[in-house]
Symmetry: C2
Subunit: 379 residues, 2 copies
């Protein structure tokens, strides 16, 4: 537990929309509830409730952004390097919140949760939700915590999309928006990769039209979906650097299909272990939510989407990220500038592909720290 | 049949290594036969047998490079735009040959062929073969056709790899080598994509460890593998241009999983129809052969691999090809130049990704024509 800045943490659950007249109105028009939100907090909310930062997790993330859930945990939360005393999200100064998204499988209500009307998991009867729906759930959580205006919302990848949606949906409730390795709309190529992952899951005979809870899950399908994901998170150069063409446990080709290159073993391992912590149906729902995400499409143009935002923005992209390439960040920046909004943009030259936003801590820290400091001082 | 330059063609089969003492020695050390090679020819071999060009097909290609196999064929061969009177591979001047590779499923012996010792399809008892093995089979075909020295070998993608292997394996038998959108070794990223495809096939319950002939084939697994392939053949920009974020047969989101973007329908269609013309086991064998391909690794370095080549080279890469990016073509060019070999290199600025080598006919034609003319005149 040495490396973490925040030490042991205890997650909380907030449940709302338990009564019919309180149901959450989803973007699809459907009303839904009850919803339980799993969340964690780090640091202390100040007296005037002005120091709260909401972290927004990426596709496979969860509410556990920092610290350890148990003393024998081997690894801290997914953004631990950035959260803690003196870190980018400085818990000596800020109150940091992170929650699992609607549709998730890590504590927040999702397709694997029990439908109270049947007592059985929703499966595919869970509503198709959007990133805006997830943000609306987070807004209810924030209000529950007594916060009217967030110092900042911050996230990478799918988390960055939610951050953008926050700034647009709740212009009065966000002072600063941090968008890392993200986009304002999923590209056709991105939709294509998601479609392959979904096809791998739904083609697994164990998927059973989503009704596999309590039985064998579609582990192979989910593993293959995850393998595709991992390729898109890395770069050609970083895969070459990390694995090259080395064989696993062999010096020479065996000329049979048991021959594996190290990169194959890596993908197999990552895909295989993913099943232990992720639900295949959540993969379907979250990837669909990302497919739908298109701020410009929804509001007529990206420029119009940003018309009413009041937040300051920090946008960071990474040179080797080919899943959400820099040009997509620049589209966000240009649309904000055309609205004369306050936006800082940096492209970091970094070889790790899309994963850079999680790996390149050192160079992001000063960018985030000074942005948060500026927003905090100037309100 | 109007657009084709060569009209109706009749494929031929050549069978060799039928006797035990004539078996082909594979790179794995295994001896194998009999081998039947499906091939087509276009144009006429000249008196001194100096005008023969061998076309080498890519992963999903076959011997049917040009013309029509039947009067009611809807589409000509895969490289028809480049083969015919007055075309790049000018059949008024050259004798053009194309054969299906060893391990294939389009006429040449592969895992779906009958093992003469059992009378049943080989399945996974088919030997793991390499691109060098495929080239050795092509060499036997060329000798069978009475040709000692080819005017040129030419191919894109996996075909380009075979062309390189030809120049290295048979330096006296190749006067010109044309390498389009290819590489001298598969990258870790390339291996990773192939591994996903293989996993999709072998995870399909219908695959039955390769023993599915006469039963339902692993159609879903093969379709998913093909979807992954198609994404890597296109570029982000060309997918945006071709599909954007348009929905299939809908104007608005339906907020259910039947919602499909056009790019999803395209992949589904391409994956689904691929099953009709391609064998899943051949996918495993050919992708493994590509994984193994590493000219520099095999000969100590790429520079050493090219030491004894006598061929002239034309290398063409495409700016938007991220499967075999231009830097990989440049590695070939640099290694040849260090050996003071005769090499021309062009990077064509073209938006269609890896598929550019098949689509960008107009700008490749003069490059290929003049290269072939130079080699033909200077022998």
């Amino acid at each position: 537990m040495d490396s973490s800045g925040v030490g042991l943490v205890v997650p909380s659950d907030y449940t709302f929309a338990g009564d019919t007249d309180e149901l959450l109105l989803l973007e699809s028009g459907r009303r839904f509830g009850p919803i339980t939100v799993r969340y964690e907090t780090y640091g202390t909310l100040n007296r005037d409730r002005s120091n709260a930062i909401l972290l927004l997790h990426a596709f496979s993330g969860d509410a556990h952004a920092a610290g350890y859930l148990a003393r024998d945990d081997r690894r801290p939360g997914w953004w631990d390097t950035m959260v803690g005393p003196g870190r980018a999200f400085d818990t000596d100064r800020y109150y940091v919140i992170c929650s699992n998204v609607l549709g998730g499988c890590r504590g927040t209500t999702g397709p694997g949760s029990a439908d109270p009307t049947t007592g059985r998991p929703y499966g595919l009867s869970f509503p198709v939700v959007t990133l805006e729906d997830m943000v609306n759930v987070q807004y209810r959580l924030i209000r529950h915590l007594g916060i009217e205006r967030l110092l900042a919302v911050a996230g990478g990848s799918m988390g960055g999309m939610q951050a953008l949606q926050w700034a647009v949906s709740y212009p009065d409730a966000v002072a600063g928006t941090i968008v890392l390795a993200s986009t304002a709309r999923l590209s056709a190529q991105g939709i294509a990769f998601n479609a392959v992952g979904r096809n791998a899951i739904t083609s697994d005979v164990r998927w059973c039209n989503g009704d596999y809870y309590g039985k064998e899950p579609p582990a192979r399908g989910l593993a293959i979906a995850r393998m595709v994901g991992h390729i898109t998170y890395l770069s050609d150069a970083s895969m070459h650097e990390k694995f090259g063409r080395r064989l696993q446990e062999r010096d020479q080709f065996g000329f049979d299909f048991s021959d594996q290159f190290e990169v194959e073993s890596y993908l197999e391992h990552k895909g295989g272990t993913f099943v232990d912590r992720f639900d295949a149906n959540t993969y379907l729902y979250l990837s669909k939510a990302i497919d739908y995400f298109d701020l410009g499409g929804k509001y007529g143009s990206l420029e119009r989407a940003f018309e009413r935002v009041t937040s300051k923005f920090l946008v960071v992209s990474f040179s080797s990220d080919w899943l959400y390439p820099s040009y997509q960040s620049k589209e966000i920046v240009v649309a904000l500038m055309r609205n004369r909004k306050d936006v800082s943009y940096t492209e970091l030259d970094c070889p790790y592909g899309h994963d850079s936003f999680l790996l390149e801590t050192e160079r992001q820290r000063p960018l985030l720290s000074s942005f948060l400091d500026t927003v905090y001082r100037n309100g």
